[in-house]
């Protein structure tokens, strides 16, 4: 089976809000291919498996080394990056069957495998996932962090907003306003930074409402699919602790 032609089945959609359909493609095997190189092959020779010419397939990618997150799609039913999905490996998941490629299901499709992940960006804006240091005067050097906290923060900072976690999260869908685990984890990242902590309350307030921290149901898919192995469920529990404490102290401090 090793050198057999590569069969790919792609869920295609010509534009936003229109019906999708599956189209089969086939191409000769070359060693060390990944899903992106297969898609490039289709772009060079846009014909379906029966030889009929079709529109080239659209997809997103940029870094090609699993750091930008833009190439994320659902491959063989599981969400992941297509640049690091190697044909030799993913063919073994469903022996004898074509590799299936679908756009992520939790975002509006722009075309074929391209989706619009604005909802994730909106969530980051909602939780103020930044540290406000812009001003008219020099604020001086930032405070130092201890090494343990720095190492933990570094892990959280690896998030590339790829969407794997929210794609796999049962509570993140068009019926819910859930901001998802990635944004919650960013709250933990920025609140644990000595300068970011000055706005910790605002970020906690942002997740203490509809779509916030309480909308996680602890299915823990997110932590299982995150390509950067970010400890999302630990972030969720930390944010839960901080918001629970805030709720209780609010009762007595106000």
């Amino acid at each position: 089976m090793a050198n057999e032609p590569i069969k790919i089945r792609i869920k295609r959609q010509p534009g936003p809000g229109v019906a999708s359909s599956w189209v089969d493609f086939e191409m000769p095997y070359r060693a060390s291919m990944n899903v992106i190189s297969c898609l490039m092959e289709i772009q060079r020779n846009p014909v379906d498996a029966s030889g009929k010419p079709v529109d080239p397939v659209s997809w997103d990618c940029s870094c090609l080394e699993e750091v930008c997150g833009s190439c994320t799609m659902v491959i063989n039913g599981r969400v992941r990056q297509s640049c690091s999905a190697l044909v030799d490996n993913i063919r073994k998941e469903r022996p004898g069957e074509p590799i299936s490629l679908e756009p992520m299901t939790k975002f509006p499709v722009v075309r074929d495998l391209c989706v619009d992940r604005s909802r994730m960006f909106e969530s980051l804006k909602k939780v103020k996932a930044w540290i406000p240091i812009d001003g008219t005067h020099d604020l001086g050097p930032g405070p130092r962090m201890n090494e343990v906290d720095r190492a933990e923060s570094y892990k959280l900072s690896e998030c590339m907003t790829c969407g794997c976690c929210v794609e796999s999260c049962p509570n993140y869908n068009e019926d819910s306003k859930f901001i998802g685990p990635a944004a919650i984890s960013q709250v933990v990242l920025f609140n644990s930074h000595p300068t970011g902590a000055m706005n910790a309350g605002e970020r906690l307030d942002a997740i203490m409402g509809e779509g916030g921290i309480t909308d996680c149901g602890n299915a823990q898919n997110c932590v299982n699919v995150c390509p950067k192995s970010i400890p999302l469920t630990t972030s969720i529990a930390k944010a839960s602790r901080a918001t629970s404490v805030r709720m209780i102290t609010n009762l007595f401090d106000r």
Partner: protein, 250 residues
Amino acid sequence: MLGFGRQRATVVVTTAPIRMNNDQRHFFYRKLHSLLGVLPLGGFIAEHFVSNAFILGGQKSYESAVGWLLNMPKPLLWTLEILTIAAPLLFHGVYGLIIARQAKNNTGNYSYARNRNFMLQRLTSFYLLVFIIYHVWSTRFTGHFTTNYTPDRIDQATGLIQSQQSIYYFMLEKLSGNWALGAVYFLGVASAAFHFGNGMWTFCIAWGITVGKKAQDNARVVFSGIGLALFALGTATVWHLVSTPNPFKV
């Protein structure tokens, strides 16, 4: 507006001292739903399973274990029942349904144990809702509790209570030899034990008690153990009632 007539002071009456906006209300309801699941509901379920397991020791054992409840002055019993069972259960159940409706389960593609438990937590809640309505209706409202339980009617010579007055025989009459109803009860016991154990585990995350992975893994062991123990107790109780012949049956 300035006028020539008499000026009247306007009295502003705040009718609601605590007014929450939508977001605060959402957060509060979710937290309340989570908290009520542990206290009082989780506590009650554990108590209920343990005291009912005294059925295994027969009539005397059971009736002395639950006697304090049955002998409680009625107004006190009703208040307790409403405050610690009925009201929390109603809120936890109805609000829980709203939460469950929002999930799009995906255990097909993401068949992790945690994801399956997430789905099971919701499935068991549907069964429990139906089962508990039946269970409460058939025992509390149309059953023994409505007849007058008077423990001084115990036959001093035999130590036994006559069928109509005995809560033990009331349950036996329902379940003895009735394997179909036994299965309904078994599913109820299994669902409740799972929902309890898994719910306690997620509660610990939702309140930030278990934060790290190790802590969450340890909590899983603890609550699986408690859940399994409750499951075993409940199953044995149901088994006893189904498999014991009813001596009053004609």
